[in-house]
């Protein structure tokens, strides 16, 4: 594992630079720590897993490692950073399977696969998604404002209010936060023993909850701008948009968890089953 990580030092340094430069990627700093914690939580079963020397296991592990290293070489030589970066979790999964066997992989995979969340999406994909999200966010905000009796004219990503024009800019869109929120949902789902269906539901609900939280933030900002003018754009909700959405999503996740997870003895039994 250590020698694999050593080979990836230039790739990791590039990712750290991106996490530092782009606030929407800054959750990358937390991902390795959470991944390490997820593996640490399962250190007992991982240490006691019996090694498996079957030919199929060896072949699958080597194939995964070779594919990952091939992607690293191609990505490094051609400057395709996403390819090189995304190969790291695959390489670690391959090493875990090849060296430790399926017993180790069964317990370690969630922590290793979690590292995918630290890899920024390809910029081309991110840009396309972000623009579509801006249009959607602007349309949803305009519809909500009309329903609340606020006169608004939507022109693409621009919202023309009676007293000023607002732009749903790149940093206002939901997409940059989605990756962080999905990572948050998956981590949250893994932190406590829960039935698998609840874990899956929590992981899947983080993105739509984040989207809803961001649209709510845009609506509140637009209402404040309509009522108070440009001074409203300096408010806490708008200026600390990412933090606001993050906190709102955590609250919504807790709510979903509360609704989905049975309480009392049933909750305990479910937790016990999940632990077993």
């Amino acid at each position: 594992m250590v020698s694999t990580l050593a080979l990836y030092v230039p790739v990791l340094l590039g990712m750290v630079a991106d996490w530092s430069r782009f606030p929407s990627q800054s959750h990358g700093f937390a991902v390795p720590a959470i991944a390490a914690y997820l593996i640490w939580m399962r250190r007992g079963p991982i240490a006691s897993a019996a090694p498996d020397g079957s030919r199929a296991t060896v072949a699958a592990g080597v194939a995964a490692l070779i594919a990952a290293l091939g992607a690293l070489v191609i990505g490094s030589l051609a400057g395709e950073t996403f390819l090189a970066r995304a190969s790291l979790p695959v390489a670690l999964l391959g090493v875990a399977l090849f060296v430790g066997g399926p017993g180790v992989l069964r317990h370690a995979w969630i922590g290793l696969a979690y590292l995918f969340f630290m890899v920024p999406l390809p910029y081309l994909t991110l840009k396309t998604l972000t623009y579509q999200s801006r249009l959607f966010d602007a349309s949803a905000t305009a519809a909500a404002l009309r329903a609340l009796g606020v006169p608004v004219l939507q022109d693409g990503v621009m919202l023309h209010l009676a007293n000023m024009t607002l732009e749903v800019a790149d940093e206002c869109s939901s997409v940059p936060a989605i990756a962080a929120l999905i990572a948050l949902g998956v981590a949250y789902a893994q932190l406590h023993p829960r039935p698998t269906r609840v874990k899956v539901a929590l992981a899947l609900s983080a993105a739509p909850l984040g989207l809803a939280a961001n649209i709510l933030r845009l609506i509140l900002t637009s209402l404040a701008a309509y009522a108070l003018g440009p001074i409203a754009l300096g408010n806490v909700i708008h200026r600390f948009g990412g933090t606001t959405v993050f906190l709102a999503t955590i609250l919504l996740l807790l709510l979903v968890d509360r609704v989905l997870t049975p309480t009392g003895p049933a909750r305990t039994r479910g937790a016990a089953r999940a632990r077993g």
Binding site: S3, L7, L65, L72, G79, V95, V99, D155, V157
Partner: protein, 204 residues
Amino acid sequence: MRARLLAVLALLVLAAGAIVLTPRVRECPRAAPLDGLSTILAGWTDADGIPDEALPVDPSEVAAVRRTYRSGPRVAWISVALFTRQDDPQRRASINRIYAEQDVSRVERATLPAAGARPNAVVVSRRDRRVVVAYWYQIAGRTYASETRFRLALMREILLARRGDSLLARVAVPVAPDGIAASLASAAELAAALRLALVGTPGC
């Protein structure tokens, strides 16, 4: 276990060797003869210079020709830029600088009324102005409208030929008050002429 760890180490050394020992991508030996681009394209005649806000300048471009072409009352702007050593992501043509993005309210995909291979086309709405922008990439005489196909072709070129040069060609036509159809037709006409003129321009 020990044998497997050694096998992993051997694979890692092989990968590191492939990355370190592969020859570097060659720098473009000379700027492309872009200035040789014809000053008359399908009846359009040129005058140097275009407003940056119509077709933004990319700081990564190594050489470029930027011109205003006119045909009667019609006006269009073209830009052909050379990018080299694109194994370095910092030296690639930025997708954020293909058309103006500041204060833009809407970017809509459009289809040029042309037969055969069509370039990408978008209609950019910015305040009270609209501009049709057609663009495509070119690697050694081959043109690519799709961003994805271009990136794959560039990757192949970098890996196999150790060359990372390409052209980005753009045509911008302001949308006239009488409608977008005429602007799309103008963009298609000039784009077709420009593509023909660039076929013999491999870049480096």
